[in-house]
């Protein structure tokens, strides 16, 4: 009798627990939907071609965000151009060359530590090193170099996973045909791992687009289209932060937020599609 009661009791407890977990999971999606819809509802009405293509006026209070989009584009391109070769080379070393030992341990620890450094610390460092010490001033270049370091761990980690997932039979086949190790890596391993490597690059782009604390003190926050990478520029996130915290213009704040969130959505969508493709390819 007692046992039946116990069983029934634990069944009810299980039901309740699962229900609670379900609520938690749904909650995360609801929160996401609330945030995204709030921004879209308040900002979409103010999006127009002229907003995207006009220069900001009155410190961004009026006009559009053209120069901000250009600066963001420059910084994204430049940091990926710097970080991609370094990151991919590092991941090739870690997967194809490194042997277990102190060197590998230090590199791994360094990469993890770099991933954990808060963005404001990157900002401080970028300011004291690139802006002041190397004399690059507030510039697109200072910003991009700082962000290069910041997205490096993401690229290394994702590329490493991708390279590890290349079946060793591919390498063996290539080596057996007389290719050298380097030829095998360049002609076989990296191309096969490409979708995974690209995912890492795209995630890196996402971080650059969303970053503000590390950029504002390295690339500066001056409006106006930068005519060279040695000129300062203001990215979308920095622009949004400035508009929001100074309460300059609700319309332009939310319109900027919509552009930013749309970019992030697109970047995420591409990354997800790539990841799914990899999984499907692997299942075959």
């Amino acid at each position: 009798m007692n046992e039946i009661k116990n069983v029934r009791h634990s069944r009810i407890k299980e039901r309740l627990a699962f229900y609670l977990l379900w609520v938690f999971s749904i909650l995360t999606i609801i929160v996401l939907a609330l945030i995204v819809s709030d921004i879209l509802v308040k900002g979409l009405p103010h999006i127009s071609f002229s907003f995207l293509l006009e220069e900001p006026r009155k410190m961004g209070k009026a006009g559009g965000i053209f120069s901000v989009i250009v600066s963001t584009f420059y910084i994204v391109v430049l940091s990926v151009v710097f970080a991609a070769p370094i990151g991919i080379a590092a991941s090739v070393y870690l997967t194809e060359y490194a042997k277990e030992g102190p060197v590998l341990r230090i590199i791994r620890y360094g990469t993890e530590a770099l991933a954990g450094v808060p963005s404001i610390i990157y900002g401080l460092f970028g300011y004291s090193f690139f802006v002041v010490f190397l004399g690059l001033k507030y510039s697109i270049l200072s910003g991009a170099l700082t962000l290069t370091l910041m997205i490096l761990p993401t690229i290394v980690r994702t590329s490493e996973e991708a390279i590890k997932a290349v079946p060793s039979s591919y390498r063996e086949g290539s080596l057996a045909l007389g290719a050298t190790k380097l030829q095998t890596i360049i002609k076989i391993v990296i191309p096969t791992a490409m979708p995974g490597i690209l995912t890492g690059l795209i995630l890196g782009i996402g971080r650059v687009v969303g970053e503000s604390a590390a950029v504002i003190y390295t690339a500066g926050s001056s409006l106006g289209v930068p005519d060279s990478i040695l000129r300062p520029g203001r990215t979308l996130s920095v622009h949004l932060f400035t508009l929001a915290s100074e309460g300059l213009s609700a319309e332009n704040t939310y319109a900027t937020a919509v552009v930013l969130i749309t970019l992030v959505l697109i970047i995420n969508f591409i990354a997800n599609t790539l990841i799914n493709k990899i999984f499907i390819a692997r299942r075959r």
Binding site: L149, V156, S237, F241
Partner: protein, 282 residues
């Protein structure tokens, strides 16, 4: 040919070493800039000093250390139960269909820039708190809620991976002995996955402590020691982020000194995250 391959290997090693070099040089430059202020004020005076008055040359960051701790603890109280709950649900219970909706959602939550969280917190959460409690709204509570949301993806993803990595036999054994699915989760699966879950919490903590822009936008940034969760508060990151724009001279160095404390916090957390799994996993 072999010679060329050797050179390439060295170049690759150098690239792999850049991350280590990066951490080292970041540490060196932050310390170089900030250390003079700490040594002038004295470590104790700087870390436990209750007054922050840069115009008078008084640099004490105790209120900000407390601020960072309060906001982070608050974020953990919100983010940990929801995050682990969600991880368990996704790993153990959710139907295929539901997880295909939730998983991309979590990825997106991780990808949303902190300024967007800040904007949402400032224009939605802060006013709600203002109306509910009749205060200024910018508070520890507002910061905790937004940071709690921001650390969810970190906690969910890492916890879920570690729960999924628990060998199936563990759960099957428990079920075969007559336990319910829930009992198996609580008594067998979660304890087996605890090292991963703990490191997910530590990494989430690191993310909360390090967050800057969102926090500046929603916590009110007062340099007073917060009295309750409804008081405004300034974090270490906020202290740097707010004043870096106009500080110069010794004042600016004091911000780098704040950065040193933050940097040390984060490095200790990193070490913990590395050490704990090995110990618990035994």
């Amino acid at each position: 040919m072999i010679f060329r391959e050797k050179i390439v290997e060295k170049i690759l090693l150098f690239c792999a070493g850049i991350a280590v070099l990066g951490v080292a040089i970041i540490g060196i430059f932050i310390f170089r800039e900030g250390w003079p202020v700490i040594s002038n004020t004295g470590i104790i005076g700087f870390v436990l000093g209750k007054d922050w008055a840069p115009t008078q040359g008084i640099y004490g960051i105790f209120p900000m250390i407390l601020g960072s701790m309060y906001v982070t603890l608050g974020a953990l109280m919100i983010g940990v139960p929801i995050g682990i709950g969600c991880a368990v649900y996704l790993a153990e219970i959710a139907s295929q269909r539901l997880s295909t909706i939730i998983k991309p959602g979590i990825e997106l939550l991780a990808g949303i820039p902190s300024v967007i969280y800040g904007l949402y917190g400032m224009t939605v959460i802060v006013p709600i708190i203002r109306d509910l409690f009749n205060n200024q709204g910018f508070s520890v509570l507002a910061g905790s809620i937004v940071l709690g949301i921001m650390i969810l993806p970190t906690i969910i993803n890492i916890s879920k991976d570690s729960i999924e990595a628990v060998p199936k036999e563990y759960k099957e054994g428990s079920l075969a002995l007559g336990s319910s699915h829930w009992q198996a989760i609580i008594k067998v699966v979660l304890p087996a996955a605890r090292s991963g879950i703990i490191s997910s919490i530590i990494l989430g903590m690191g993310r909360a402590i390090g967050e800057t822009m969102a926090v500046i936008m929603i916590t009110g940034n007062s340099t007073l020691i917060p009295e309750s969760i409804l008081s405004p508060v300034r974090t270490l990151t906020g202290n740097i982020g707010i004043e870096m724009g106009y500080a110069s001279g010794e004042h600016q160095k004091a911000l780098f000194a704040t950065g040193i404390v933050l940097f040390v916090f984060i490095m200790v957390l990193n070490l913990l995250a590395k050490l704990i799994p090995n110990k618990v996993g035994e």
